[in-house]
Subunit: 198 residues, 2 copies
Amino acid sequence: MGRPKVAILSCDLIAGAAMDLVNSTGAFTIPELARRLKVSPSSLYNHVSGREQIVELLREKAMSEVRLPDLGGPWIDVVAEIARSYYRSYARYPRLIPLMTAYPVGSRQAVAMYDALAVTLTRAGFTAEDTLRIITLIDSFVLGSALDAAAPAEPWGNAADAGPELAAALATGTARADRAEDAFEFGLAVLLRGLSRL
Amino acid sequence: MGRPKVAILSCDLIAGAAMDLVNSTGAFTIPELARRLKVSPSSLYNHVSGREQIVELLREKAMSEVRLPDLGGPWIDVVAEIARSYYRSYARYPRLIPLMTAYPVGSRQAVAMYDALAVTLTRAGFTAEDTLRIITLIDSFVLGSALDAAAPAEPWGNAADAGPELAAALATGTARADRAEDAFEFGLAVLLRGLSRL
C-alpha cells in the first residue's frame, strides 16, 4: 500500500490550482490554495513569494496563448492581429481579468506583447504619450470584450422594460451565436478607424 | 440586558453585505452572505429568489449613480456624457464588473441607460444591428476602462524588460495622477471619431 502519491509542489501546480479556484469562484486566497493542494501555507511560500507572484503565474498562463504577428506589416494590421489574439486568449479566462488589472504587469510574455504594440505605434508616428494612451485603449477594449464574450447568450435577458429602439437592437443579436465576436470585430474596426484619423 | 438588537433582514441589507463581500474578496456565495448577516441561508431566500437577484441588486446600486443627460443634444455629446457617467460609476466598484457581465441585465436603471443609448443612436441614423454593436462597444470600453481606473498607480510595474519604445511610452504615465482618466477621455474621443466616420 505505502504512502499515497503526492505530487511534488511546483510553480506549475500552484498556478493550476489557483486558476481552478479563480475559474470557479472568481478569486483565490493563500489558505484556500494550500487546502486545495493539501499543503501548509508555509510550504507554498517555499515556491512563491506571495499572492502577487501567483497572479503573475496566472497572467503568464493566459498570455502564453497570445501569438505576435510579424511586425513588418502595416501598423493597423499588426495592431488588429495582436488585439484579436489577446482577445481570444482572455475570453477563455474571463474571471481572471479583474485580477490581471489589479496587479502590476510583470510577466515576460505580457511585456513582449506591450513591446510589440509600442514598437508598432512608434513606427506609425504616434508620440510616446499617445502610444501609452493607445495601449491602454486596446487593453480596456480587449478585456471588456473578453468579459462580454463570457456573458450569457442573451446578455440583456428578456429586457421586458426596453423601449422600441432598444428592443429592435437587441432582436438583431438574439440567437446569434457569434454576437460577441461580431461586436468585437465591429468595435476593433471603429477603434482603428478612429486612430487612423488622429 | 435583553436580546442583542438584530437588524431586520431586507433587500438593502442583503445587497450591502454582498457588496462588501465582493469589494473585499471579488465574489460572494449565499452561505458566506448568510454567515455575515448572522442568518440562515433559508432566511435569505425569504427576501431574494437567489444569486441572480442579488447580482441585480448590486447592479442597481452601481447604476443608481449613472446620470442620463438631456437626450436632445447632438448624439456624439449624449453618448459621450452617458459613457462618462457610466465609467465614473463603475470605477468605484471594479470588483463588481465580472459579476455584472456574467449575468443578464435585468435592473430598471440599467435598461433605462441602454434605452437612452438606443434612442440616441437610432435617431443618429444607425441601423438596429449597428446600434447593438455600438452599445456593446461602449459597454466593453467603459467596463475595461473602469478596471484600468482601479489598477495600481503604475500598472506596468517597473517593466525592467521593456524595450526603448515601451519604456518611453510608460514614462509619460509615471507619477501622473490622472493617467487612467486621461486615457479614458482619449479612448472615448477615438471611438466617437471612428463612429462618426461609419
